[in-house]
């Protein structure tokens, strides 16, 4: 991978922040956008903007072709059987809510179980809490190991014949844990349960094959993989999507509308009520082309190299606590002794380094880690080893700055 050439595709990276070159280490929150994506959205609005699936005019046809063309790109990207199984949503949160509202609520009853883990993002906890409350189902947690991984044995001990849904993140946004989704899917299926995978931190960083993983639903966001904000994907197995009720009713998603009843369009459109996120989907299509040109396996290797190097370098800092396992996705979450992560992030920002500080939308996990907040550096295809060195220097300065306070 030619990182220099890749970085040139991301105009935002070429700037100074607080007098220092920007070091963007917050991709897990949102990735930066390359020129082809910016251009695709710009081109759509300049030349082709029109509503989709309606009207006869030429622009409408162009917009529809581009929108549906993007759906096909997503299908190929995750190796789904059919583009009808690719639903465009607003993002991972909406995707998971579609399953929790449209599938879980009509299909669960008291005594049924939903199984999740304490490492989930709020968007893969709260929809299930609400579905459990609404249906009388029970919410159960697979315990975590000390290092923030889960054992298949614990999955087997938690999932039972009463379990109807197992919902788990592909890659933890805090610990970086990469979960054995394929093996967990098998355990779920052996008990007649389905598996819902939160792929927000997975799909941007590794080749995802939904057929090989044998997952029933896979949710991810465009904005964490170089696409604009406001576009996401819900993949589902066809028979399950057929059993899933639409959540948003209105224009675009209907077949026939009568005074007292209506029928829905076929997949995938029955889930896409209202004017869809056309420019976002086109941007996502362009992002997928961009990532494919570089190669998802190359991106995976690059991200892994950065994560391994960051782990190695950060571990050398006295008084740092690093959370999560050795084997991890493209992020490192940590705390410095006696320095609150907000303060760490503010000092780093003064050095031009952007990291996330807070609870990362994972309050139950923060409780499990016995912290109120942490700092997180996360990486992507445009980051370099030198930037990790800059981060380490920044952290040493942070320690020095706050060390003087506590002397």
């Amino acid at each position: 991978m030619d990182i220099k050439a890749i970085r040139e595709m991301f105009p935002i990276l070429d700037q100074e922040v607080n007098g220092n070159p920007l070091v963007y280490l917050d991709t897990s929150a949102t990735s930066q956008k390359p020129l082809p994506v910016i251009k695709a959205v710009d081109d759509y609005y300049r030349n082709n903007n029109s509503n989709v699936h309606r009207g006869v005019h030429t622009l409408g046809t162009r917009a529809t072709d581009q929108y549906e063309g993007a759906r096909e790109k997503v299908r190929a990207f995750i190796n789904a059987e059919s583009a009808a199984q690719v639903i465009f949503t607003r993002g991972t949160t909406t995707s998971i809510n579609f399953v929790a509202y449209g599938y879980a609520r009509p299909n669960l009853k008291p005594g049924d179980e939903i199984v999740i883990t304490p490492m989930e993002h709020h968007s893969n906890i709260i929809p299930w809490q609400q579905a459990a409350k609404a249906t009388g189902a029970t919410l159960k947690y697979i315990p975590l190991q000390e290092d923030g991984t889960i054992l298949l044995e614990d999955v087997r001990n938690t999932v039972s014949d009463q379990t109807k849904i197992v919902a788990i993140t592909h890659v933890s946004n805090v610990l970086g844990t990469i979960n054995p989704v394929k093996e967990i899917a098998k355990i779920a299926h052996d008990h007649g349960a389905i598996i819902v995978v939160d792929g927000a931190q997975g799909a941007p960083h590794m080749k995802v094959d939904v057929v090989d993983l044998d997952c029933d639903f896979y949710a991810f966001s465009g904005h964490k993989m170089c696409a604009p904000t406001g576009i996401g994907v819900l993949y589902g197995k066809r028979e399950l999507l057929e059993k899933t009720e639409p959540v948003e009713f209105g224009g675009e998603m209907i077949d026939f509308v009568d005074l007292y009843d209506s029928t829905w369009k076929e997949l995938p459109w029955k889930f896409e009520g209202g004017t869809p996120i056309i420019a976002g989907a086109i941007g996502l299509g362009a992002a997928i082309d961009f990532l494919n040109d570089i190669g998802m396996n190359n991106i995976y290797e690059h991200d892994k190299k950065l994560a391994d190097y960051a782990l190695e370098r950060l571990s050398t800092i006295d008084g740092i606590t690093i959370y999560g396992p050795e084997e991890r996705g493209a992020l490192v979450t940590f705390n410095l002794d006696d320095v609150h992560p907000h303060d760490t992030a503010t000092v780093l920002d003064a050095e031009g380094i952007a990291v996330r500080a807070g609870h990362h939308c994972a309050q139950p996990l923060m409780k499990w880690l016995d912290v109120t907040a942490t700092a997180r550096a996360s990486f992507y295809l445009y980051n370099t080893l030198e930037e990790i060195d800059t981060l380490v220097d920044g952290l040493l300065k942070t320690k020095e700055y706050f060390g003087n306070v506590f002397e």
């Binding site: 607080n18 007098g19 609150h340 992560p341 907000h342 303060d343 503010t346 000092v347 920002d349 003064a350 050095e351 500080a357 807070g358 609870h359 309050q363 923060m366 109120t372 907040a373 300065k397 700055y401 306070v405 506590f406």
Partner: protein, 144 residues
Amino acid sequence: MSLNNLDTLYRQVIMDHYKNPRNRGVVEGESVSVDMNNPTCGDRIRLQLKVEDDIVKDAKFEGEGCSISMSSASMMTQAVKGKKIEDALEMSQLFSDMMLGKELKTDLDLGDIEALQGVSKFPARIKCATLAWKAMERGVKEEN
């Protein structure tokens, strides 16, 4: 911005309040208790106020958070203790104005609080600084 510019944020007096918080703990006897958190970052505070005859007789806090939120809580309790409710609320308004970078016109003695002026230059940290004041406002309003 060099690290030296951080000194406008992390003034010595702020760090002193962070390191040696005043009025940390719980109020003895009857009091009004307010729990507040900053859901985007996890800072949280439990503020207890004892209000008698429209005067804040005592103010104590517990909580967890960054240097700015905790030092601000320490300074706020120090500032409002012994004040009339209306003065405490006016101080809170002044504090909000200060966070917006407005020039302050007041006869009230703001004491250490003025050290937090630098926070206005760090928009991401303003919420940290205002958390304790919001808790105080809610507390005295509940008391009334």
